[in-house]
Structures are given as C-alpha cells and as structure tokens.
C-alpha cells in the first residue's frame, strides 16, 4: 500500500517551465556579476533540493545572516 497523493509543492520537483525559468534566471544573475558562491547556493535550493521556502532562499542569498 503506497501513497502517491501529494499536492504539496515544497520538495516536489518543479515542472519543466519553472525549471527553465530558474536556470535562465541563474544565468542572467551570473552575467550581472553575482558571486559564484551565491549562484551555487541558489542553484541547489531552486533546482536540486527544490526547497522553495523563504528561509531556504534567504539562507542561499545571505548564508551568514542570523535571520536566515
């Protein structure tokens, strides 16, 4: 017996269009001179872990911030 019902977004792989947008967005940030470290962290959050919460994204942008 297995559950496949899951409407939650967090943790689910995003569909193709969001993935495409996230990847293009990271490319554009890179072109704009964003730091490599921040880009890697954002890539992990948006495209690998797909942990699309405010705290996770804040931590990716400012890893040393006490609020992240």
């Amino acid at each position: 017996m297995l559950a496949f019902m899951s409407n939650g977004k967090s943790g689910n792989p995003p569909s193709e269009i969001p993935k495409q947008i996230f990847a293009t967005f990271l490319d554009e940030l890179k072109k704009g001179g964003a730091s490599e470290d921040m880009l890697q962290r954002l890539h992990k959050v948006l495209l690998e872990d797909t942990n699309l919460t405010e705290n996770a994204i804040k931590a990716a942008i400012f890893p040393d911030s006490p609020n992240s």
Partner: protein, 828 residues
C-alpha cells in the same frame, strides 16, 4: 499519463453501487440534473487524486471529503465509501488498479505498485485539472487579470514561478525596510559624534583638525590620514586613556545637557504638536469606524500570519496546509482589506516624524541619565529613568499601532513632562557646572576618549548601514532579474497558448469568426486576456461575446493550456457539463474539435442534454456503446439508467403492488425514451419540433413506420440480389413485427382509442398488465434477439443513402441497397 478502463463506485456521494466500463475510450454520461453525473466525476477525481475539488476548494466551508464524500447513509462508515479504478498507462503499456477509500484517501492500494507506475500516478495526482466543470472553465475567461493569472499558472503548474517571485520580492522589501531604522540610528550616532567633536559637519579634515589640536596639547603626534581603523587616542598611555565613564567630562556633559534641553524644547514645540495632532486625527478617524477598526485588526493579523508561513502548517493553529494554498487563502482574505490597508499605511506615515522626534528624546534622556551615578556625589536619577522608561513605553505603543486607543492615548501624552521628572536633570546640570574647569590637558584627554567612543559607535552603525544597503541592492537586483526572466519566459509561453487557443476557437466558430484572434498579456502577477470582436478591436471576453461563446472560449483556452502543459501526455480529461450555454451547432463543432485535434485524449463528457449526447455519437466522438443515460436518482438506489430489463421488471413489481399509476408513468417515460432512440437509430422522419419536446405520439408511430419501411427495403434488396433465403427471413420478420404492432395497437384501442396514453393510470393492474406486455413485445421487435447482444438495430451510415440495417454484435446485417442493374432497368 493514463486512460481509464473502468470504475467501480460504492457508497460514494449519491451512488450506492455502480460500475462503468469506459473501455479506454471517449465516454458520454447523460441524465437530468440530480441523477448522479457529477458523483461520477467526483469519483474519478477521488480515485486518481484522493481529493474532490468541489468539496475542498474555495467556498466550501463546513464541507469536507472525509465527512461528505460517503453516501449519506454511510456517512459514519467512510471505509465503505470506495472507488476502484482500472487504468491503462499507455507509455508503460501497463494496466493498473487503484483502490481508495474515504477513510484512508491518501493511501490507495495500487496494483502493481511498481516505481514507474507510482511516478505516473503521482503526476496525475498533481494534475486535478483533468476534471473541468463549467464553474472552473469560466474562471479562465471572465475572471480578473490577477485571479486569471493564478488559475492559469496553477493549471500550467507555474505556481512555483509565482512563489519564488513573491519570495524574492518579499526578501528585497524586507532588506529595503532595514535601511530606514539603521539610517536613523546612524544619524543619531553622527549627531552625538559631532556634538562630542564640537564641529558642525563631518569630514576627515575637520575631524582630524579638531582631534589633532587636542593631541598636540598632549604632546602626541598629529594623525595625518583618517582610516577606518584610526584611533584618535593613539599614543595615550593606558591609564590616561581610561574611559571617562568613571568620571564626568565637564565639556561633554555640558554639551549633552544642552542637547537634552533643545530636544525637550522640540518635543513641546508647536511644530511637533502639529505633527502629533495630525497623527491623532488620522488614528481617531480609523478608531471611530468600528468596521474599519475591526478590519485593520484583521488585516494586521493576516499580514503577520502571511509573513510567518514557512512550514506545511498554519502558523496560528498548526493545521496541516499546503503552504501555497494557505498563502492563497490568506491573500484572498487580504484582498478584502485593500482599502483599509491603504488607510493604515497613511496613518503609519503620519506617525513616522513623531516617532523620529521621540527617538531623539529618549536617546538624549538616556545619555544624560548615565551621568547621574558617576557624579560625585552621585545624583539619584530614578525620576529621570522612570520618565525615560515611560517615553520608551509610549514609543512602543505608538509604533505597535494597535490597539488604536492605546496608540492614541500615548500620542496625547507624549508632550507632557511630569512636574518633577526633570529634577534630576537640573541637579546634574548644577553638579556639572560645579565641576572644576579641567586643565587643557585633561579636557583634551576627555575629548579624545569620548570622541573615539562615539567615532567607533558611528563606524559600527555606518558599517551596518552599508551592509543593509548592500543587501538591499543585491536582493533588489535578484528580484528584478527574476521578474524580467520569468516575465520573458511566460510571455513566450502565453504567445504559444494564445496561438493555439485562437486556432481552436476558430475551428468551432469558423462559420462566423474565421478571422478570430486573441491576446494573452502577462504582466507581473497578472494575465490580461482580450479577444477580437469581428474585427472591431480587442475586448475582454465578457464585453461583447455571448455566454455561449464565452463557454466556447473557456474550453478552447483549457484545451490549449493542457496541450501546452502536457503535450502528448494529455491523454485524459473529464468535461463536466461544460457547454451548457453553447448552441447545438457549436456543440457539434466542439465534438469535431475533440475528435480531430485530440485523437489520443480520452474524454469523459457529462451532460444533462440528450441531444448533446447524440451529437457526440453522430460526430463519432463516442461510439454507440460508450455512453450511459441515467433516468432518475433515488437516495436508496442512487442513479439508475434506462435498462430494458430493469424497466419491465420494475413495471411488473409495481403492478404486483397494484401501483398502476407508477407502472403507467414508467412505461410512458420509457417508451418516450426508447422511441426517440429507435427513431434516431433508424433515421426515422419525425415531425420537427423546435423545442425538441417530442411526445410518444410523435415518436412511436414514426419508429414503427420506419422499421416497416426498412424491412421492406431489405426484402426488396435481397430479392434483387437473388438471395431467396434472406428475403424469406426478412419477410418472416415483417410478419412477426406486424403482429407485435397489431397487438400493441389492439391494446391501445381497447384502452383509449382516441388518443394518447394518458388513461393508462385509470386501469386496474389486471387490465394494464397486457398493455405493458404488448409494448414489451413491440420494443423487442426493434432489438437483436441474440441474448448476448439485445441491442437496438440501427441503420448505417448515419447520413446519406441508407445502406444497411444491423446490430452491434453482427448477427443482424441486412443490406438495403438493391442490385444496380435492376435499379437501372426499373428507371428505364
């Protein structure tokens, strides 16, 4: 994705026990309102997703799947409410069974539960939009741009795009908001530094000039360059450089006391009084409107709740929620408070200058208060401290905004200085004045020490401000870049959808809107939708197009979006009575559209209109066997369809209970239904009625006449081909059918020779029995006698020259076309 082979529904919604064999094909479900059609749609959705949109979406307060999905008689037995579906996954070439109960909707039994199967079913589960009702359909068309964007983005699984946009925006806003208080703090630090330095404005030159003049007095070398780490005390021996916190530096204390007096004067000035009055007026206005006040409280609460959503639960009550659904839920509520939010923001703006003056006041009090204990003798500053604490408390009450009466009361008293509150200030002033004038060297030492302390404080807060500005800049760039990229990609997507939508809509309206086009215009968080109106320009769909056309637009937009989203995986959709406002001609075109443009998609279509069901068949969207026609629904039995065997048994049962009225009514309704079916299948000519309200007297004689003619044509054709045996068999059938007609006519004549069938219910059971039997035999005459078939005979093709009379099983295949030569000879 999937195709659905069959479904078994038990004790679910209005259904007791129902099995439908969709046979992996398009399927029509027809029946009057309230006969159980939507129950089947609910069952399909539940079977595939574990949820039912119309029991769990917006506006369903008090209704839930758990409590209300079971049949009303099984509401305390959710384990009995179950749906079993057999589906095919074409991409895997696998057949899968899904069994789900309302008791445990999230843990279905899936057989086989292979990983690839589960993956496909998980995809289906996150696409509940495969089931579309008219209510949902019209939302895409006539909703506000912001709402439409949400609906369309949900359908295209773009929720994540919007989620991230909102998060980036929120982070950027939060970073921007950090700047103002930090700037205020920096300004205060600067003011204190300037006061200590005793210079009007800050520059490296002026600062070094002031500091070096004291350093020279102390025999220290001047500082040439001011760097971020420069210490003004550099070179002072440790003991001499000791903080003057253990004693009061007269010069500095005098300056600080003077500053306090100035701030107090500002606090009670007419200018500040005007600011306070304006703020009180704004807050009082809100406070006097109880509805607005209540709304402000709710709006503030919702704003706070929104900012706290991080996990999959409500931050207030910990109820499990999908975070996006919860945000959407709260945002929808917040929309109701837009006006009150505007008033609140205005009021908060009025408070800002008042809070700035108060900040200076409490800081100046705190600075002077520190001198009391270190004076010799020490001065008791309790009264001053109490006053400062009361000022700080008022500051917090005003900043908190709510409750409004508290904030108003605080504003009303901020300029009031208690009579003895400033007594310690006066005592400190006296004590400071009594301190002997320091030597030039002592004064210089104190000067450098205090200035260095304040310079460090200024440097610290300046650094924090710089970091805050840097953070704001980074997050603003991130937010703007994301908005630019996502808008650009979405524009591309919407262009494709717009093209596909226009193409589909032109297909179903090619006769009158062959040049139709549409414009989908995405802007941040919104999706505009305008359509061409006969070349006169682009307008919102609801502006000039009829409701029927809007329904057509809805289904075309839905199909275009699904096609874009799922591509070849768009293999299944349930359209629940979605074209109720569309006229017959356009419905036929919708059937053609579904059949021609979506040949690999299995559509389950429900309708209350039997004519619409016939269109589906006529166009070939569904086959003759791929439909179910409900006749009524009863709370004990659920939906029941027109089934010949059931009808005759039901009539028999009614007569056994001497319920002639019920038996007569049932026979009448069944004969109307079956006569219409026979006329349709035999292509019988019936006097046209614009309202399509055909009565039994219109239909049954036409059916009988057409069948007689068809048998005669079949016999003539067989004879023309020299098929003696076939001709004989048809002749026998003609004789047999004539006998059935005669018997039914005789019975009718005995009852009421004049007209109609309305007098049946006046008969006794014994008299009505033979009537029912006669009609049963008559109807049997139109049916294939193969027990495995028992289907109504029908003529093919559906249009043009009639060629054959046949049945579904193939036992009856009667050629209706004569041999050509004989036709010619006869013509000659």
């Amino acid at each position: 994705m999937i195709h659905v082979d069959n479904i078994i529904i038990r004790e679910f919604r209005g259904i007791r026990d129902l099995t439908i064999d969709f046979a992996d094909k398009n399927f029509g479900i027809c029946g009057p309102n309230g006969t159980g059609k939507s129950g089947i749609v609910d069952a399909i959705e539940f079977g595939l997703t574990g949820s039912i949109s119309r029991l769990s979406g917006k506006g369903t307060g008090g209704i839930s799947v758990k409590e209300h999905a079971p049949h009303v008689d099984s509401r305390n037995h959710p384990d009995k409410a179950r749906v079993i579906m057999r589906v095919t996954i074409p991409s895997l070439r696998k057949k899968v069974t899904i069994e789900r109960t309302v008791k445990d909707p999230l843990t279905p039994i899936i057989t086989p539960n292979d990983a690839d199967v589960l993956e496909v079913l998980a995809q289906v589960a996150i696409h509940p939009e495969f089931a579309l009702s008219r209510r949902e359909l019209i939302r895409y068309v006539i909703s506000a741009p912001g709402d439409r964007a949400k609906e369309v983005q949900a359908l295209l699984r773009l929720d994540d795009v919007e989620t991230i946009r909102t998060i980036f925006q929120k982070i950027a806003n939060a970073c921007q908001r950090e700047i103002v208080p930090t700037k205020r703090e920096r300004d205060q630090a600067l003011e204190q530094l300037l006061r200590a330095l005793d210079i009007p404005t800050l520059s490296a030159e002026k600062l070094l000039g002031a500091a070096n003049s004291r350093r020279i007095l102390l025999g220290l070398g001047p500082i040439a360059v001011l760097t971020p780490t420069t210490s003004l005390r550099d070179g002072l021996v440790a003991s001499a450089a000791a903080s003057p916190s253990s004693r009061v530096p007269k010069v500095q204390a005098t300056t600080d006391l003077r500053n306090l007096r100035e701030v107090i004067a500002r606090m009670v000035s007419a200018e500040t009084s005007a600011l306070v009055t304006a703020a009180i007026t704004e807050l009082s206005s809100l406070n006097s409107d109880s509805a607005a006040l209540n709304s402000v409280t709710r709006e503030r609460f919702l704003q706070a709740a929104l900012s706290l959503i991080d996990a999959d639960a409500c931050p207030v009550c910990d109820t499990q929620w999908n975070p996006e659904e919860l945000k959407g839920h709260i945002m929808a509520k917040l929309k109701l408070f837009e006006e009150v939010a505007r008033k609140r923001v205005n009021a908060e703006r009025k408070l800002e200058p008042v809070l700035a003056v108060l900040t200076d006041f409490k800081e100046a009090l705190a600075v002077v208060e520190r001198y009391g204990p270190i004076l010799k003798p020490a001065i008791d500053v309790k009264l001053l401290r109490d006053f400062r604490l009361s000022v700080e408390a008022k500051y917090k009450e005003i900043q908190a905004f709510l409750p409004l009466p508290t904030a108003i009361a605080a504003l009303q008293t901020i300029a009031i200085v208690p009579a003895n509150a400033l007594d310690p200030v006066a005592a400190i002033e006296t004590a400071v004045a009594a301190i002997p004038e320091p030597t030039q060297q002592d004064a210089a030492r104190d000067y450098l020490t205090v200035c260095q302390e304040r310079l460090e404080a200024y440097r610290g807060v300046s650094l924090r401000l710089k970091q805050a500005e840097e953070r704001a800049k980074i997050t603003r760039e991130i937010s703007e870049t994301y908005a630019k990229v996502s808008t650009s990609v979405l524009e591309g997507i919407y262009k494709e959808v717009e093209k596909e939508f226009s193409d589909l809509y032109r297909f179903i309206n090619r006769e009158d809107e062959g040049k139709f086009s549409a414009q989908l215009t995405p802007t941040t968080g919104k999706l505009g939708f305008e359509v061409d109106f006969y070349g006169r320009g682009y307008f919102p769909p609801g502006a000039y197009h009829s409701e029927g056309h809007q329904d057509g637009m809805g289904i075309c937009l839905y199909l275009a979006l699904m096609k874009h989203q799922l591509g070849k995986s768009f293999t299944f959709a349930v359209l629940d009575d979605v074209l109720m406002s569309v006229d017959a001609g356009h419905r036929r075109e919708v059937c053609n559209l579904l059949k021609e443009r979506f040949p690999n998609t299995q559509f389950i279509l429900t309708t209350h209109d039997p004519i619409w069901l016939k269109h589906m068949r006529t166009v070939g969207l569904i086959s003759s066997k791929s439909s179910i026609h409900f006749r009524k629904w009863h709370v004990d039995q659920g939906p029941t369809e027109w089934d010949t065997r059931d009808v005759w048994q039901e009539i028999k049962d009614s007569l056994a209970k001497n319920e002639v009225r019920a038996a007569a009514g049932l026979l009448r309704h069944y004969l109307e239904y079956i006569s219409a079916e026979i006329c349709h299948r035999l292509r019988a000519p019936v006097e046209f009625r614009g309202d399509a309200q055909f009565q039994l007297g219109d239909l049954l004689p036409a059916a009988i006449g057409r069948f007689n003619k068809t048998l005669k044509e079949g016999r003539s054709a067989a004879e023309s081909w020299g098929q003696t045996d076939a001709a004989k068999a048809i002749s026998d059938r003609e004789t047999d059918f004539a006998a059935r007609v005669t018997k039914s006519n005789i019975e009718q004549w005995q009852i009421n020779p004049a007209i109609h069938y309305n007098e049946w219910e006046n008969l006794q059971a014994a008299d009505f029995g033979p009537v029912a039997d006669a009609f049963r035999e008559l109807i049997d005459g139109f049916i294939c006698q193969n027990p495995k078939c028992n289907g109504l005979l029908y003529v093919v093709p559906e249009r043009g020259q009639r060629e054959e009379l046949k049945c579904a099983c193939g036992v009856v295949t009667m050629n209706l076309k004569k041999r050509p030569q004989q036709v010619k000879a006869k013509a000659a």
